[in-house]
């Protein structure tokens, strides 16, 4: 578990070094189950534990569980795009769960407006997007983001969607930061069950994470 957390921290530090100031990162994939929501949640937590105001936007249908696991049992604030909750563990981490209508048929202007507003209050905004080849909203979030991370699950076979993803991102002028491989089954399990990956990080390691937050900040 420690290695898992550390992997996200390394990823966060890498991004902090590349993007100064408030930044928007979209995490997408070529295929469902590649762990985009998992990566987005982990990255958001990594930013939050370092004391940065962080917003995790659940733009993916499959990201709902992750978002709920982070802000479970918390009271949310209704926004035009969805419900925003605050993590009970990390006060700096907020989770915005897009309403189904917004998620399925997003309006580009609304998205840009929302992100501009959120950038003013959050150091990092992480969007958990659907697979780009399958979702237009995902591509819109990707275009709106400063950089895109691609999540790929180890162990699956290459698909035409992989080439399609790269082609779409390149043609859309999206800045692709890199690819984050995930351990397929564990990532999928984390998405399916809030108690597998996310919850242990928060509940079992909360005090440790808090301590580390100080360490990272220092």
């Amino acid at each position: 578990m420690y290695q898992l957390e550390e992997s996200f921290r390394i990823l966060r530090v890498t991004l902090e070094g590349r993007y100064e100031g408030p930044s928007i990162f979209a995490v997408t994939s070529a295929h469902r189950g590649d762990g985009a929501a998992y990566v987005a949640a982990g990255l958001a937590r990594a930013f939050a534990e370092s004391g940065e105001e962080t917003l995790l936007i659940g733009a993916s249908e499959h990201s709902a569980n992750a978002e709920l696991s982070i802000a479970e049992n918390t009271r949310g604030t209704l926004t035009p795009l969805g419900v925003m909750r605050q993590s009970p563990v990390f006060a700096q981490l907020h989770v915005l769960t897009l309403a189904p209508a917004t998620r399925e048929r997003p309006v580009a202007r609304d998205i840009e407006t929302m992100l501009v507003e959120m950038r003013e209050t959050h150091r990092a905004i992480v969007v958990a997007a659907d697979p780009v080849p399958r979702s237009a909203s995902a591509l819109q979030f990707a275009r709106a983001a400063d950089g895109v991370l691609i999540s790929v699950r180890f162990g699956r076979s290459p698909l035409p969607a992989d080439r399609e993803l790269v082609r779409l991102l390149d043609e859309s002028g999206v800045t692709t930061i890199g690819v984050v491989p995930t351990r397929g089954r564990r990532a999928a399990a984390a998405i399916r069950s809030s108690s597998t990956t996310i919850v242990p990080v928060e509940y079992e390691g909360s005090s440790r994470l808090a301590t580390r937050k100080v360490e990272v900040a220092s």
Binding site: I10, G42, F154, G155, D162, L165, P181
Partner: protein
């Protein structure tokens, strides 16, 4: 390929790797009883000259050298002919007999004349027996080759000697038939006896002829001697008569006296006439006595001797003439016989020449046969290939030991497992590492998470 990749590959294909190793273990357990073998070794010493000097079956080859070279012995040890004999003596089944060549190894040690013969078998006792039988068969076979090279030659020579002997016997019979009816022709010398006799008789005839000629001359001379000694015989007779001698002495004295008287006296001297008369009477008496005595010359020893010599010479001449006549008669007879047996003699001479040639050929063949038989006996006795070490134990073969066999199986199946793992991994196109992901997307890849 680095170790990390190897470990990763094996880890990814661990199921296949474990399956292969389990199969290998099972194969090892099942195959161990069948693969365990024991090796027994017999040792041969081949006092072999190079088989390249002369051909293997050349009878001119030195009988003490091996008929088969050491290199050929190695091949001979695994030949079907030798191994069939061994298999029969071991009462092997057909399947086991077929496998026997693969279980036999014969290789000389560093080019020496020592040839170890190794036989492997699952049964140690049978391995020992097979090794010893193989060594025995090799020695016996090389010995048979050593003697076989002479057998054909001996058989041929024996046949030729028998033929020659038959021909000689036939010639002897023909010669015997020709000489049986003719006393003067012998089987050994034919008509040579006649010729020899003729030569001797001719020499004798010539000698006798010379003798007769001498006898004739001697007889002629001897015949003249009595006549020649007749006067001498008269003188001898008168000189041996005392009265004649006395009368002759008296006559001499009277004659001397007369002559003296005549010298000193004249004719008229009275004594002269008387003395003259006396001398005349004495002379007449001497002449009468002499004529009477000389009339019978046989009273002279000289005359008689001469006469006897003449008679003896005549007798000798007659005898020699008689011998000469006899010899001439014998010569005529022998010449007649020779003339009568001229054809038979020629035939016998031809037969004798033919027999001499046959006899010479027979002698040469006999000599060659004797030498060939001696060489064969020598080759059979010396034994150029001998067994100097018999197998008494059969330790497990190197690959038949469980440990070595297990190690071999382990190496083989581990290698197979690794190979299979890489083959399967190579056939697996899934995204298994960051490199494949980077190749797929062409973007930098972060550390894996999750």
């Amino acid at each position: 390929m680095n170790l990390k990749r190897l470990v990763e590959t094996l880890q990814r294909q661990r199921v296949a790797v474990i399956a292969v190793l389990i199969v290998g273990l099972a194969v090892y357990i099942v195959a161990l009883p069948h693969l365990r073998k024991y090796s027994a070794t017999s040792t041969l010493l081949a006092a072999a000259a190079s088989s390249e000097s002369t051909s293997v079956l050349d009878p001119e080859k030195d009988p003490i050298s091996s008929a088969v070279g050491l290199v050929d012995l190695e091949d001979l040890a695994t030949s079907t002919m030798i191994l069939d004999r061994v298999a029969r003596r071991l009462h092997l089944s057909a399947d086991d007999a077929k496998k026997l060549p693969g279980d036999v190894k014969a290789k000389s040690l560093f080019g020496s004349n020592i040839l170890p013969v190794q036989v492997s078998d699952r049964d140690p006792n049978r391995a020992i027996r097979a090794a010893n039988l193989l060594a025995d068969e090799l020695a016996a076979y090389t010995r048979s080759i050593s003697t076989t090279r002479y057998d054909q030659l001996i058989a041929d020579l024996t046949s030729q000697v028998a033929d020659r002997r038959t021909q000689l016997q036939a010639l002897d019979r023909r010669i015997q038939d020709l000489t049986s009816d003719n006393y003067y022709i012998t089987p050994d010398t034919g008509t040579a006896a006649i010729n020899t006799r003729l030569v001797a008789l001719e020499a004798q005839e010539q000698l006798l002829a010379a003798t007769v000629a001498g006898d004739v001359a001697n007889a002629a001379t001897s015949a003249k001697r009595p006549q020649l000694t007749r006067h001498l015989a008269g003188h001898e007779i008168t000189t041996q008569d005392p009265s004649f001698v006395a009368l002759k002495v008296q006559y001499g004295k009277d004659l001397a006296t007369l002559n003296n008287m005549k010298a000193g006296y004249t004719e008229n001297y009275a004594g002269i006439a008387g003395l003259q008369d006396t001398v005349d009477r004495e002379r007449a008496s001497l002449a009468r006595v002499e004529s009477e005595e000389v009339r019978d010359p046989t009273q002279s020893a000289t005359y008689v001797t001469a006469q006897l010599d003449a008679n003896r010479a005549n007798a000798t001449l007659g005898a020699d003439r008689a011998q000469l006549a006899a010899v001439k008669k014998q010569l005529a007879g022998l010449n007649g016989q020779l003339a009568a047996s001229g054809g038979e003699g020629t035939q016998i001479a031809e037969l004798r020449r033919e027999r001499a040639a046959e006899d010479d050929a027979y002698g040469q063949l006999s000599a060659r046969l004797a030498r060939a038989m001696a060489d064969r006996a020598q080759a059979a006795t010396i034994g150029s290939v001998v067994v100097i070490g018999r197998a008494t134990s059969a330790p497990p073969a190197l690959l038949g030991r469980p440990g070595v066999l297990g190690a071999a199986f382990a190496v083989a199946f581990i290698w197979l497992a690794i190979t299979l793992a890489f083959v399967l991994d190579g056939a697996d196109k899934r995204l298994r590492n960051t490199t494949s992901i980077e190749d797929l997307y062409g973007k930098p890849v972060f550390n894996p998470v999750g």
